[in-house]
Symmetry: C2
């Protein structure tokens, strides 16, 4: 099929739709983000790109900690709400039931089936955004979303975000086993 | 629901299943990766975590360029093949039809509906992995996968990878409009 050049773009798919938790000026705040991924295995680390003006970035720098919370599809309206409203103007501390874990300063969302506690390791200034790297210190999973001791993606029913059409999507069905279907070639 | 602590883990969902292209010792090589995300808007940048021993990392450092290619679900066997076999032992230069764009040294996969050309900006040593940040210099899209000049995720039908169950999944249906459904709260 013929290719079209559209210039530099950021339309990578799929992207997770997560809630970033931080204590900002002592108050729990949750920001919607999709520019987030795994950065290292040993130690386990997460990367997160944040526009420099973000209220959440202020809290991450204040405490040196943050959380990444994975919502299921049912939480899509709340996730979108946290993407529309900034913690500068809106108190989002009561949108979710908040709990704290190992780090004590990284607010976690009870309603999200999967939660990561992160300790700030690096901040890389890339231009409009800071790329924040956090060491994953603890993972919390809803008991019913585990399979063989690991978080099961089908039970979690995670929310994804597609930037081109600005739509949230659910994850679809399994299409093959990794380290398996490639052996047939 | 009761939460269970499983220790530090890297089971973030969803993750894209992409092919990283690089010229290694002058030969096009393609590696499967899912620890990849957008890192900045201005300039547009991509982050990619690579185990330090990866053949692909050698090529990225040799040329200072790489590509990120988004396969559709139909390419799942080829993607898995590129995850099973290392370019150290296997010549993967003929698995796909290769083309080159602006950067001339970042091999691109014709069969993938979406391709990004990246120029190496930063390498951050995190332990087992290097976090590589590349400026996105050009995006190539299959003509039939565009909608309003942007890559349309439903037409692309991207492949995703779930680490817990080691399954590839397709993206599911849209569940709501971003900057929309949160206004109802």
């Amino acid at each position: 099929m013929a290719k079209v050049k559209i210039g530099p773009s950021t339309h990578l798919y799929p992207k997770p739709a997560v809630l970033v938790g931080a204590l900002v000026d002592g108050r729990a705040n949750f920001m919607t983000a999709s520019w987030c991924g795994i950065a290292c295995e040993k130690p386990p680390a997460m990367s997160l790109a944040l526009r420099k003006i973000r209220h959440t970035l202020k809290g991450i720098n204040q405490q040196g900690t943050f959380s990444i919370n994975l919502p299921s599809v049912a939480l899509a309206p709340q996730v979108d709400y946290c993407g529309i409203h900034s913690g500068k103007d809106t108190d989002k501390s009561a949108v979710f039931q908040v709990f704290y874990g190992l780090l004590q300063t990284a607010p976690l969302v009870q309603e999200c089936p999967l939660n990561f506690e992160c300790r700030l390791l690096h901040s890389l200034d890339l231009g409009s955004h800071m790329l924040v790297v956090g060491q994953i210190m603890e993972t919390h999973v809803d008991q019913g979303c585990l399979a063989d001791g690991k978080p099961d993606v089908e039970k979690i029913d995670p929310l994804t975000y597609a930037s081109g059409t600005s739509q949230y999507h659910r994850l679809g069905e399994a299409v093959g086993q990794a380290y398996g279907i490639g052996k047939l070639l």
